[in-house]
């Protein structure tokens, strides 16, 4: 796929390569910031509706300015570093976590004509770069010099590392069917209506029908692991407030806490976007060629991703929290065998079609 650099070529004609690179690099950041405002508003409103409340109503019409107010509140708060904390690591940790999320955003193909970085091993890159979040969490939890932070960090890391395995299985399954790790290519293969999406067996015509149960189960497995990887309820044991105050970010305040917050929402978007790309056709329109121009593709990509973000928020306010042992049981004894069986079926499908 050569045309994913369309925007880069377009800009660099006017500004030169270096400035164009910088401008392209800013796009995911802008996307992330705008998305975070929307997601915070969505979280507040959906939570309130589920609890039969109105939610924020006073800042702006229907409380629309509430996320902006929240951001200003966080900016104004005092930036506290505890005395016993390991200062360099304590200050570095939020940015490391944020960096992992930002780097993952850089390879998402928003449209057939635009991916910030059209890496041909994008899926592999995303699995690899998500380990930065793990390091950032350990760093923050350890440097806080607080036992709750440390236990939260330990839990979080063991959880993320465990759940990476079924998640990688799901991604590998789709990669073996698509014969590619390039997210743009995988999206392009699923063009031509929702029937061609990999959640419904991929673009192989009617003979793929035996594959559909496996791919649907694989999608469910990936959805569950994505909840665990972003530390969302029902798997938010790292920050279970009834046991651990707030987990690994107990000691953080102000701007640095905002970075943790931003990274959590950013990671939600990243896993949703991966789900969109590998199972739900990425930027391709669900109605074949209808509304499938490059601009509309951006809309489809964002809409599909936001749907899964909404689903995550919905689940957060619906389900109770699991225990740590239940969490590990689910990963190692249920999700991993399931994903392996489905992976075998999908690999067979990849060989046949």
């Amino acid at each position: 796929m050569e045309n994913h650099q369309f925007l880069f070529n377009f800009i660099s004609e006017y500004t030169g390569d270096i400035l164009a690179g910088v401008l392209i690099a800013i796009i995911p950041l802008a996307l992330l910031l705008v998305y975070a405002l929307v997601a915070i508003y969505g979280e507040l409103k959906i939570a309130s509706f589920i609890q039969l409340k109105l939610g924020p109503m006073r800042t702006g019409k229907w409380g629309l300015l509430q996320p902006v107010a929240e951001v200003f509140k966080l900016l104004q708060k005092e930036d506290i570093t505890p005395d016993g904390a390991d200062k360099p690591l304590f200050n570095l940790a939020p940015f490391i976590i944020f960096l992992g999320c930002y780097a993952a955003l850089s390879v998402l193909p928003l449209s057939s004509h635009f991916a910030p970085s059209g890496l041909n091993i994008g899926l592999f890159f995303i699995i690899a770069i998500s380990s930065l979040a793990v390091l950032g969490i350990v760093m923050g939890g350890w440097a806080s010099n607080n036992k709750y932070s440390l236990i939260g960090a330990m839990r979080s890391v063991s959880q993320i590392i465990s759940y990476e395995i079924p998640a990688a299985m799901c991604i590998l399954g789709v990669a073996s069917m698509a014969h590619s790790l390039d997210m743009n290519v995988i999206s392009a293969q699923q063009q031509g209506g929702f029937w061609n999406w990999y959640v419904l067996g991929g673009p192989a015509g009617i003979s793929k029908i035996w594959l559909i149960p496996f791919t649907v189960v694989m999608f469910i497995v990936y959805f569950v692991t994505s909840l665990a990887e972003t530390n969302r309820t029902p798997f938010d044991v790292p920050e279970g407030e009834s046991e651990l105050v707030a987990g690994y970010h107990t000691e953080y305040s102000g701007m640095k806490f905002a970075f943790f917050y931003l990274a959590e929402y950013g990671n939600m978007f990243v896993v949703s976007a991966i789900m969109t790309v590998i199972f739900f056709g990425g930027w391709s329109s669900p109605f074949g060629d209808f509304l499938n121009s490059p601009i509309w593709q951006i809309f489809w990509f964002i809409a599909k991703s936001m749907f899964f973000v909404g689903l995550q928020i919905w689940l957060r306010w619906t389900l109770p929290r699991t225990r740590v042992d239940q969490l590990m049981y689910l990963c190692w004894k249920i999700l991993l065998p399931l994903s392996m069986v489905c992976f075998l079926a999908m690999a067979l499908g990849g060989m046949l079609y």
Binding site: P88, I121, A128, S130, S131, L135, V138, L150, V157
Partner: protein, 189 residues
Amino acid sequence: MNLEAVIFYLFALIIVASGGLVVLSKNIMHAAFALMFTLFGLAGFYAMLLSDFLAVSQIMIYVGGILVLIIFGVMLTSKITGVELKTGPIGKVNYLFGAAISVIIACGLSLLFTNSKWIEKPVDKIPDSSINAIGYSLLTEYILVFEVAAVLLLIALIGAALIAHKDQIIDSDASSNEISTNNDIKIKE
């Protein structure tokens, strides 16, 4: 200076500075986290050399796997034993030894670098990705090595599961060679 040179020196600076921190830092945790930047800088070098797959593998294996393992090891041992995470004073002899080994390795590497014949022919076509070539050679030319590595990893997995499985311990009593299931056995410190 062109863009490539700027990026190269940037990565080189990161690698040298963080590598120095790894060696010189008194705090083992700081050293372990500084290692992260070193490994990332190396991944950047691989990416500059057009081996994208190697670069991402570097992040995947070293940053995501080995470094997390190191940090976990350091963190858990210090919390259990209560030992301060500081390196003690290093004796003069150790400094001498360290310096000698470093000088020998540096001399060897520079000798190797100056004496080896580098391929200086420009590449006619930049390959789209190294991953296809790596995949083909892994599954054709190096299939035996690949499979042996896979079996080795499988053995490691089974071994880890066996060690972690507390309930079933092999009875040390020579008379009974069967596996006893005893739930009361605690791991001794």
